[in-house]
């Protein structure tokens, strides 16, 4: 458990190397929001494809609706991909996150 406590800071510093802690034979545990963002959202948003969404104080409900509906070119994410609990945490995290200067959007 101590390892998990360090996660958020580590994730902000280096999202690509964020830990899932998945063990053999176990299903994927609920991911911290920064890891969900790094594993799915960040590949498009802030990376040439989707608009930047961090640091814009987007409303939590709006983010949740976008994730499930997948507007326009954006894929829709099912509850089996981003669980309801993960989405709740993710939407709050994105809404509150500061701008990431390393991101470049369209």
């Amino acid at each position: 458990m101590r390892r998990w406590a360090l996660l958020p800071l580590m994730l902000l510093a280096a999202p690509a190397s964020a830990q899932t802690g998945q063990a053999l034979g176990q299903t994927l545990a609920q991911r911290p929001p920064a890891k969900t963002y790094a594993s799915i959202c960040a590949y498009c948003h802030g990376h040439n494809v989707g608009p930047i969404i961090l640091g814009r104080k987007l409303p939590v409900e709006y983010i949740q609706a976008m994730v499930r509906a997948g507007r326009n070119g954006m894929p829709a994410m099912r509850p089996t991909e981003i669980s309801p609990a993960e989405l709740d945490a993710l939407a709050v995290w994105i809404s509150k996150a500061p701008k990431d200067i390393k991101e470049h959007g369209q």
């Binding site: 899932t20 802690g21 509850p79």
Partner: protein
């Protein structure tokens, strides 16, 4: 009988079947029940499934089904939207769901990660099906660091597998298709997808499956039922008829575990791009590449990327042309040159010791110097985003940059892959390009395409990009796709894979005997036809 006729008959059948009485966007688009299934059957089946997996993991109304209904492929009449979704978390639940489906004759549409973008995602080939969403089954069951193998469930994404290997400092590579983070080895292999390292032909490096049959029996292919479990991922063929193939691109069982081989990280990785300036150069690139691929000097699945396809990833159509008609080669060439791209950009990579890589590079440079190709290295391409993208893919790196294609034409996110196959001969290229351009132009679409060279074959990968928010354009895209399938099929260029919207049409091109054999296997293994009727044209 043409596939188009069969489809229209399907629609007529749909017209007389009961529509579901639930108001809402997905349902209102004309979703109908499966043949012989009543509204009460569907409701009872969904209720029984709730008892198996819990309320949270069954969707049965338009609002909760919304993420399962999203698709990039054309569906002008809404016949591909699912009527429900159920998400088991283990094999026992899969068996229980199949039992319910048999009881109510309610067809299921199994998906692994459900992100077969441009081939239908989680939408279904025929109306009235419940998505059997296996994404929650995401256990990595074993990784053998000596044999370099893994055994995974259908919901495991390439991201998860990469994370596991990294977190355990295991120096093995994965091989990903272009949308790696959100898709996984099981679904991609079962659809006979490819990646871009030397392990790019995914079905070749698949080894062992566990399959839940329609009657609930559990089959382990290859060595899976012997007393030495590690042999399961070591030897593909087992004994007797080789069965794994019949569970790819099919609806004969639900694959719940799959083994795959992983490539050891090489000491040296060297990505290269070969640029050619003219559209017609593709024939000589193919002829130069074939012997290099057959001899294994170029070890990876090679992409010959057309400039328009490349540009569509990171740019919008409006930046390249202001005309509504098909974008011209001249417009593309001009824009491409400004961005350090050729008309064809052939991405290859070398893997091995410094001496192996140097010798292969020497041979490759010789072959391409003879046909005026510029062979460029990472150092020369610097931070060129297209080179970076392909250098990432060719080492099994994760990227979603190709999703950008869906924005080429407006905001509507329409994409359908058309992927006919030919022998890897230069003489097979120009005729295909001319035909594709002609058909696409007739319907007002651009030629955004690539070729891929496998072991002996040439895949023509055409991205049909359209604005799905415009219903008229969606209809045109559907018509255009059908004309591509039939026009190419008449010349013997048939698809290796297709979306839910054209499965029947493509299957018809592979011959009546082929269809009859598939139908007989289907009847024997799934007599109630509860598994994905319509998949690959097998009802």
């Amino acid at each position: 009988m043409s596939g188009a006729t069969i489809d229209r008959r399907g629609l007529l059948g749909a017209g007389v079947a009961a529509t579901i009485g639930i108001a809402g966007q997905a349902m209102a688009q004309g979703a109908v029940l499966a043949p012989g299934v009543s509204k009460a059957d569907l409701a009872a089946a969904l209720k029984a499934m709730r008892a198996v997996v819990g309320d949270a993991w069954v969707a049965g109304d338009a609002e909760s089904l919304r993420p399962w209904s999203k698709s990039y492929t054309p569906d002008p009449t809404g016949r591909h939207a699912p009527v429900g979704a159920v998400a088991p978390e283990n094999v026992e639940q899969v068996q229980a769901i199949l039992k319910i489906a048999n009881q109510y004759r309610q067809p299921l549409w199994p998906v692994s990660t459900g992100k077969n973008m441009g081939y239908g995602s989680t939408t279904t080939a025929a109306p009235g099906q419940i998505v059997l969403d296996l994404k929650r089954m995401n256990r990595i069951l074993s990784v053998d660091t000596e044999l370099c193998t893994a055994l995974v469930e259908p919901g495991v994404t390439y991201q998860q597998l990469r994370d596991y290997l990294d977190e355990h400092n295991i120096p093995l590579w994965i091989d990903v298709p272009t949308v790696g983070p959100i898709v996984g080895p099981v679904g991609n292999t079962l659809d006979r997808g490819v990646g871009y390292t030397p392990y790019g032909e995914h079905f070749m490096v698949q080894c062992g499956m566990e399959v839940v049959m329609a009657n609930g029996d559990i089959l382990k292919t290859g060595m899976g039922s012997t007393k030495n479990p590690s042999a399961w991922q070591a030897f593909k063929w087992g004994y007797g008829p080789y069965l794994d193939g019949i569970f790819t691109q099919s609806n004969f069982g639900v694959v719940t575990k799959m083994g795959l081989w992983l490539m050891p990280a090489p000491p040296v990785y060297k990505p290269l791009v070969v640029r050619h300036k003219k559209m017609e150069d593709v024939a000589r690139i193919t002829d130069a590449m074939r012997p290099l691929r057959i001899a294994g000097i170029v070890p990876n699945v090679v992409l010959m990327m057309g400039a328009a396809y490349q540009l569509a990833m990171f740019h919008r159509r409006g930046e390249v042309t202001t005309k509504p008609a098909q974008v011209s080669d001249e417009e593309i060439a001009q824009f491409a040159a400004k961005h350090d791209l050729g008309m064809w950009n052939t991405y290859i990579a070398l893997y091995g010791t410094p001496a192996q890589v140097a010798e292969s590079e020497r041979i490759i440079r010789g072959a391409f110097a003879a046909i005026d190709g510029d062979v460029m290295t990472q150092e020369q391409m610097k931070d060129n985003p297209w080179f970076h993208h392909h250098a990432t893919l060719m080492r099994g790196g994760l990227s979603l940059e190709e999703v950008g294609l869906a924005r080429w034409k407006g905001a509507g996110g329409g994409l359908a892959w058309f992927a006919p196959v030919a022998p890897a001969k230069g003489s097979e290229t120009q005729g295909q390009i001319d035909l594709a351009k002609q058909i696409l132009a007739r319907h007002g679409f651009d030629y955004t395409a690539a070729f891929a060279v496998g072991m002996r074959e040439l895949h023509h990968i055409i991205a049909l990009l359209y604005d799905k928010s415009d219903p008229a354009e969606e209809k045109r895209a559907d018509d255009c796709y059908r004309e591509l399938v039939t026009g190419f099929g008449d010349r013997g260029w048939c698809s290796y894979r297709t979306g839910v919207h054209a499965m029947d049409l493509v299957a018809a091109q592979y011959g009546e005997t082929n269809r009859a054999v598939n139908a007989a296997i289907k009847q024997a293994l799934d007599p109630n036809h509860i598994l994905a009727p319509g998949k690959s044209g097998i009802a």
